[in-house]
């Protein structure tokens, strides 16, 4: 059937003919978790990027932070924080926001090394981010550069989960309420002061657990498909 052509698994099969890098091939060969599976039992990689801007075609990834969720708990031993080495000097305004200076940048690693490492960890897991647009476009841009192709992603967005949930339960939507800090506040999660890609990834992971806990109460058991919308 025609839709099979567009399904991620079919896409992956086609890409296997074009992609050579062994990590990318391993990623493509590993099936995504089934959408009917209990969402609490799955492994997640929760991800956050700091970037020099919002446009993946022009701007660059400054740092990556990620953590894992296994067995319904955020795992601190799965935490990774990587500063990416850039070939251009940092625009001063990004230094102010991310507190990543040129000196620290030079201590970082190259994008393709960071991406290899990330892709290996993503393999077989569901990726979770807050506001998927940034991570998905920057991740695709990086994949294109490193592997020559955009690899399909299985990505959950804590912001989208929240928006759908509120639309479905017909709650009033207020500007700014979907910002990470504000959403965390709504779930009585503690306020974190310092922002880094990793701290935001952990913050997103906790928010994701909170969202699942609340959805759990409405219906018995959540499936991965329920979260994908």
């Amino acid at each position: 059937m025609w839709w099979r052509w567009f399904s991620p698994e079919a896409q992956k099969q086609r890409l296997l003919k074009k992609v050579e890098h062994p990590l990318a091939r391993a990623y493509l060969e590993t099936p995504f978790p089934d959408k009917k599976r209990n969402a609490w039992e799955l492994d997640y990689l929760v991800l956050d990027f700091e970037t020099t801007g919002l446009d993946a075609s022009k701007d660059a990834i400054l740092s990556m932070g990620y953590t894992e969720i296994r067995g319904g708990r955020v795992q601190m031993d799965g935490c990774i924080h990587r500063i990416i080495k850039l070939n251009i000097p940092l625009p001063p305004e990004t230094v102010v926001i991310h507190k990543i200076t040129d000196d620290r940048m030079n201590a970082g690693i190259h994008l393709h090394d960071a991406l290899h490492e990330l892709l290996e960890r993503m393999t077989g897991k569901v990726v979770v981010v807050h506001f998927a647009h940034i991570e998905s476009t920057f991740l695709h841009a990086a994949m294109e550069r490193v592997y020559g192709q955009k690899l399909p992603l299985l990505m959950l967005d804590t912001l989208a989960i929240e928006r759908r949930w509120r639309e479905r339960t017909q709650q009033v939507i207020i500007p700014n309420q979907f910002r990470l800090g504000n959403l965390r506040n709504a779930y009585s999660l503690p306020r974190y002061g310092a922002h880094s890609a990793l701290m935001d990834a952990i913050a997103t992971a906790e928010l994701f657990l909170a969202e699942m806990s609340y959805m759990q109460c409405e219906k018995d058991g959540i499936r991965l498909g329920d979260l994908l919308g």
């Binding site: 319904g72 601190m76 779930y187 503690p190 002061g193």
Partner: protein, 624 residues
């Protein structure tokens, strides 16, 4: 990742007992942490289940229930749940439920047990029984030197303002200035105000008069150059040792390079517990009530000094009582000077904390007079009325205010011959009604402060024989003693009670909730055993010696609980006095460290346990 850079690690570092961990091990704990979110109303652990994590609450709150369904405690940020099951091979015995949306930091059982094994202080935090924990807390507070809860006495608290003179001023000029303000020492300074020497009274005798030196010479010629100095932050006790070792009596006190004071050996000595002794001496020399009232004002300061010297609560009670009773005795001596010698023998008796020798501040006056049976109203009535009035008014002027319940010798009811008192006690013991029990709890703690002591001792002997024999009376006393129950502890800013959900009591009445229950327990057991001591500590000793009423171990636990609660109360009052407030019994939770709150919970549990022992012994609940 650099876990050590994360806020999560910083949070762990602040939570007891992880505060005891070395930095690299703390990083390991942070690295191994798992984070879990629990929605309000969700059960985290169920009795009978299995659990392999110890949980530190990061935000939110949990309730823990005893196997019988009763609330055990409510825990919030920075507190631990679930660790008991980890230490018992994972067997869960208490239900744990989230009562708010809660974020938990879970430490794996393996890591938790390893941490216990490697770090003794962490192990003690989790494994010590309540009694051991309390005992250690008391020791730590006593031996603390870095301000752990205890306000230690420092040089700056005792020093006097220095007299500063220039090094070129003449010996005579300096001597004059010192005489004007009655100073014993002067600090000699350079032009830039830095200290270069010290002169004392003795130098004028030894170096000027004895040597025949000219009084117009500069003071620098006779000063002690570059004297030993102390910092204003030095501890008073250390300063005293140093001065004794070097045999010096006056030392300049510095704050960096500036002279900020001077301290003498006698300033330091006077600060020691003997303060009360000086005051009592002055009280017995007072010629009139106004002078007594003036001296009485010093009492709060004496109390602060005693607390700062880390004396046990029982000693502080004794010292403060010695002041209170000195005032009563002096007042009666003055009264007898005014109205003449008593026409018949009498005993002036105190009740309440003064009788028990457990005063901590000015208290209400509770007293009475036992008159000789030779008393006759028409002949002697006016004398004793006047005497009682004089003493009561005088005490009121001294800050020991009139008893709101009118339990005072001025009340005819409580100024009676021995035979009438005997009748009172017989009624209370034989017909223990509500009012009788109230009076009983007041008048079973009596002490003679003045007059013919035998009037009271004979009576007390008879009473004790009767109380020991009457289990019915004991049971009523026991049930009455259960009217003050200790709370479960604190939850956030509030007092947590077993029966009352969501108490709005902000701050804990340490007297009503902690001190009084122990006093009541000791009284009941003492009366039941026919034991004569009145002081709670002595009663507890006697109860332990008697051996039947309570086990030695129970008594020891109760002593520790009493000591800890008393100490918290005393420190709170000392802090209030230091801030210029009048002391009260309400300890706000924010004044306590997390550790102190935990110890208080332990202490309350000990009291509650002893109350249960008493209740089952008398089946006291029958009478409630």
């Amino acid at each position: 990742m650099e876990v050590e850079q994360l806020e999560i690690r910083d949070y762990l570092a602040k939570c007891p007992p992880l505060t005891e961990l070395p930095a690299d091990y703390l990083n390991e704990v942070a690295q191994g942490l798992e984070i879990q979110y629990v929605r309000r109303g969700t059960d985290v652990l169920k009795a009978g289940g299995i659990n392999h994590h110890s949980f530190l609450i990061r935000s939110g709150a949990m309730e823990v229930f005893l196997p019988n369904g009763e609330l055990y405690g409510r825990f919030s940020e920075g507190e631990w749940v679930g660790y008991r099951s980890v230490m018992r091979d994972g067997k869960v015995s208490m239900d744990v439920k989230a009562i708010e949306d809660t974020l938990l930091y879970a430490v794996s059982g393996q890591m938790f047990l390893e941490m216990l094994e490697r770090f003794e202080r962490v192990r003690k935090y989790f494994t010590d029984g309540k009694p051991e924990r309390l005992r250690r807390a008391i020791q730590e507070i006593r031996g603390a030197d870095d301000g752990f809860a205890m306000i230690t006495l420092h040089v700056r608290d005792l020093m006097k303002l220095p007299m500063l003179v220039g090094r070129n001023e003449s010996i005579q000029q300096v001597a004059r200035q010192m005489s004007e303000v009655n100073a014993q020492t002067a600090m000699v300074t350079e032009d830039d105000a830095s200290l270069c020497g010290i002169v004392t009274d003795v130098d004028f005798r030894r170096r000027v008069v004895a040597e025949g030196l000219g009084v117009h010479l500069p003071i620098a010629d006779i000063m002690t150059v570059n004297p030993l100095t102390l910092s204003s932050r030095d501890q008073a006790s250390e300063a005293l040792l140093l001065m004794a070792r070097r045999n010096i009596r006056h030392v300049p006190v510095m704050d960096g390079k500036d002279v900020v004071g001077v301290i003498s050996a006698s300033d330091l000595l006077r600060s020691q517990s003997h303060n009360a002794v000086y005051l009592v001496g002055d009280i017995f020399a007072a010629a009139h009530v106004e002078r007594l009232a003036e001296l009485s004002k010093v009492l709060p300061k004496v109390m602060v000094g005693l607390v700062k010297n880390s004396l046990p609560a029982s000693d502080i009670g004794q010292a403060i009582t010695s002041i209170g009773q000195a005032i009563v005795r002096r007042m009666l001596a003055l009264a007898e000077e005014k109205f003449g010698a008593p026409p018949v023998p009498y005993a002036f008796v105190a009740a309440g904390s003064l009788a028990r020798r457990e005063q901590t501040a000015h208290s209400d006056q509770d007293n009475g007079m036992i008159l000789s049976d030779d008393y006759n109203e028409a002949e002697h009535g006016e004398y004793f009325r006047n005497l009682a009035r004089y003493v009561s008014d005088g005490l009121n002027a001294c800050g020991y205010v009139y008893c709101p319940g009118d339990v005072m010798a001025t009340n005819d009811q409580w100024r009676q011959p021995l035979a009438v008192w005997r009748g009172y006690f017989e009624t209370w013991i034989n017909k223990p009604e509500a009012k009788a029990l109230m009076y009983a709890s007041i008048f079973f703690d009596l002490r003679c402060l003045h007059g013919d002591e035998s009037l009271l001792t004979d009576l007390q002997e008879e009473i004790l024989k009767k109380t020991k024999a009457s289990t019915l009376f004991q049971a009523f006393m026991a049930s009455n003693a259960l009217s003050h129950r200790p709370p479960l502890g604190f939850f956030r800013g509030f007092v947590l009670d077993k029966e009352k959900d969501g108490s709005d009591e902000k701050g804990m009445d340490m007297k009503k909730r902690g001190v009084v229950p122990v006093i009541d327990l000791a009284r009941v057991f003492a009366l039941a055993g026919g034991l004569s001591p009145i002081n709670t500590w002595e009663r507890l000793d006697a109860i332990a010696d008697e051996g039947v009423l309570l086990s030695q171990a129970s008594v020891n636990d109760l002593r520790d609980a009493f000591e800890f609660i008393s100490m918290v109360r005393l420190q709170h009052q000392a802090k209030q006095i230091e801030k210029g407030q009048s002391p009260n019994n309400y300890v706000p939770p924010e004044e306590l460290s997390a550790l102190e709150r935990r110890h208080l919970k332990d202490a309350f549990e000990v009291i509650a346990t002893t109350q249960t022992i008493m209740a089952s012994r008398y089946q006291a609940d029958r009478f409630r």
